[in-house]
């Protein structure tokens, strides 16, 4: 399916590009973190320790002024005391407003983002690619209809559409057992993992059109290729042609699009979480929203750290996407996404 020349190109581009290597490092690291979250996180991300709330990250211990006022002999007396907030090595990245460990939350947040990102993209591709291929191959009314629908579909800003759909359909989530915990390999970690199902579906619905477009474009140009005509002349059925001939050759731009889409969906999911429209509270966007409330009072890390995690992942994916695009075919329509 993937020709040798393509593999060679990939290797060559990779060797030459420092950025591609960086991208691989970033992506692989975040995948490992997400998969092995129960092992990497020092604490259970959902455990609240109110006594340990709002601790700063290591190295950022600070002395704050706290003003207290109390009634003494019928008069209001205000005192300004200096309070020292000491970072705790048990919580290297600090804790959030409810005393939950930031590092653990960030680690588990990777799971949410990656799962939604990957599953959402897969869903969008599974819906979009066949539709696009069929539309491009057969043309005619179906193709016209699809294109017009694509126009309408893209007329709605994806975020707004996603919000609207989630608003209408709710935030159903699927609770999955965590395999490592169930196997008893790790203790003290949440035994289940919440996958925001509606979000995945909504995100896929909002993005399938991108895949359909690319697939349609490829089908249109491949339709007139000699080997397709030859296959038809030999009596191959349409589904065979679409599946065994066109699809493998259309795969390259689709893969490039897919990487762009994963990045875009991760951003979309974090936006949805931020607005409170996700089915899970263990996500980077949610923590940023939470952190926003603490900005004026000085606990900056709650909002900052998850954002850095998002950037880590998305930059890595974008670098991989660039590498793929440079290696596979510089003439691919690169930017498509939320």
């Amino acid at each position: 399916m993937v020709s040798k020349r393509v593999v060679q190109n990939l290797r060559k581009e990779f060797r030459q590009s420092g950025l591609a290597k960086l991208g691989l490092v970033l992506v692989v690291s975040i995948i490992l973190v997400a998969v092995f979250a129960p092992f990497i996180a020092p604490h259970n991300p959902t455990t609240q320790e109110l006594g340990q709330a709002q601790l700063p990250p290591l190295g950022f211990s600070e002395t704050k002024e706290a003003t207290t006022s109390e009634m003494v002999d019928g008069e209001v007396v205000t005192k300004t005391v200096e309070k020292r907030v000491e970072a705790n090595a048990a919580h290297p990245l600090g804790t959030d407003g409810l005393g939950r460990d930031m590092l653990s939350r960030t680690v588990y947040g990777a799971r949410t983002s990656l799962m939604v990102g990957v599953l959402g993209t897969v869903f969008a591709a599974l819906v979009g690619v066949p539709i696009g291929l069929i539309a491009g191959y057969y043309g005619g009314k179906f193709d016209d209809g699809l294109m017009r629908f694509a126009d309408v579909s893209l007329a709605f800003p994806s975020l707004v559409l996603a919000i609207a759909l989630i608003g209408l359909w709710g935030r159903a989530a699927v609770v999955l057992p965590d395999p490592f915990v169930s196997a008893g390999l790790v203790s003290g970690m949440p035994s289940t993992f919440t996958l925001p199902g509606t979000v995945v579906i909504v995100v896929g619905l909002v993005n399938w059109v991108w895949f359909a477009r690319i697939a349609r474009g490829e089908a249109l140009s491949l339709r007139d290729e000699e080997y397709v005509k030859a296959a038809r002349a030999l009596g191959a059925s349409d589904s065979t042609i679409l599946g065994s001939h066109m699809l493998p050759n259309a795969i390259t731009p689709i893969i490039v699009l897919a990487t762009v889409q994963v990045a875009a969906i991760i951003l979309l999911e974090s936006s949805l979480s931020f607005l409170g429209f996700s089915g899970t509270t263990l996500s980077w966007g949610f923590d940023i929203a939470q952190g926003r409330n603490y900005i004026s009072s000085g606990q900056w890390w709650i909002a900052t750290i998850p954002g850095l995690a998002i950037m880590w992942s998305v930059i890595g994916i974008n670098l991989i996407g660039d590498w793929l695009r440079d290696a596979l075919d510089p003439g691919i329509e690169g930017e498509g996404g939320v």
Binding site: V152, I163, A164, S296, G307
Partner: protein, 330 residues
């Protein structure tokens, strides 16, 4: 003139798309769990209200009649009634549009003014510091969630350094325009306006600046490699003329196409940016309407967004046609 005919053709297409948007929103009513009444009535409405609403919507009537009624209302500009707020939707939505438009325009302005020169410089001074800087910036820029960027900016510039306001839209562009009358007042108003709009505009505009820089750079590189560029140089044309009048002009056309496609992202981004900065625009309205289950308001907002999106797209197409006249002859 061919351009005029093209404009008419695009407008007609646009009307078709708007019709599609309207119909989809209509269909959304029937996709909500429970009956269509849930799409319109607040959750805590009592039986009597629900029945009144049902009658109002004509839910007992055949589908096509409902649809007809819906279209009829729309053409008159009636987007429904928000039971939760007790207000008609249309004036409410229209009143919020200026704020969102102001934000979107500011962000777009920032984006275009920064990114195109940056992209061109990056392409013409390839592998020099400008190029590396621009490439790095654009990579980070498209990978940064805009709401987080907004919060970070608030943290540093508004809370720490107190330069900008943390939220709201105290002074708007209209105020600035009006204040041109008196020079001292003008300066005050201008600065006031900037303290409110700068951070949201940058937060919203960063993604686009990065995106357009990237596209302009790669587009210019590709264009400068084409044979007609060499032939144009052979005429003795000054280099900047070759770069700007020829290469950039042809680079902008695909850039504009992508911009058109990304307008949706701009609006979506505006929604979030409004949430972060408490900017009183359409986005905040939409989020509130969802949280309060105010479906008529939501639907009305969606329709308005759809229509304005189509309008902007037509505008973008016209700019495209000006840059590349081949499109007009299709």
């Amino acid at each position: 003139m061919a351009l005029g005919r093209f404009a008419i053709k695009r407008t007609l297409q646009g009307i078709g798309v708007v019709w599609g948007v309207i119909t989809v929103v209509f269909a959304l009513r029937f996709v909500t769990p429970g009956s269509a009444i849930n799409a319109v009535a607040p959750l805590d409405a009592d039986q009597e209200t629900r029945q009144a609403i049902a009658a109002e919507l004509g839910l007992d009537q055949p589908l096509y009649l409902q649809y007809g009624q819906y279209l009829f209302d729309l053409i008159q500009g009636d987007l429904g009634f928000s039971y939760i707020r007790g207000q008609a939707v249309t004036p409410l939505v229209l009143s919020k549009i200026p704020a969102t438009v102001e934000l979107a325009l500011a962000a777009t302005f920032v984006a275009i003014v920064l990114s195109i020169p940056l992209g061109v410089l990056s392409a013409t001074r390839r592998n020099q510091p400008v190029d590396y800087g621009a490439t790095l910036f654009s990579l980070v820029g498209i990978s940064t969630p805009n709401f987080w960027l907004g919060i970070m900016m608030i943290l540093v510039l508004a809370v720490e350094f107190g330069i900008f306001n943390t939220s709201g839209r105290g002074v708007n562009a209209g105020d600035v325009l009006l204040s041109i009358v008196g020079p001292e007042r003008f300066l005050d108003t201008l600065i006031g306006w900037l303290t409110y709009i700068t951070l949201p505009a940058i937060a919203l505009g960063t993604y686009f600046t990065a995106l357009i820089t990237r596209l302009t750079r790669s587009g210019m590189l590709e264009e400068l490699g084409k044979p007609y560029i060499r032939a144009t140089r052979a005429k003795g044309l000054p280099e900047t003329l070759v770069q700007y009048k020829h290469a950039l002009r042809n680079t902008l056309t695909p850039v504009i196409t992508v911009l058109g496609l990304q307008l949706g992202t701009l609006i979506g981004g505006a929604v979030i940016t409004e949430a972060v900065f408490t900017w009183p625009g359409l986005g905040t309205l939409i989020i509130r309407s969802i949280n309060l289950r105010d479906w008529p308001l939501l639907q009305g907002s969606l329709i308005v967004i759809g229509i304005s999106f189509v309008l902007v797209n037509i505008l973008v197409d016209m700019i495209y046609a000006y840059l590349d006249p081949r499109v007009v002859y299709d």
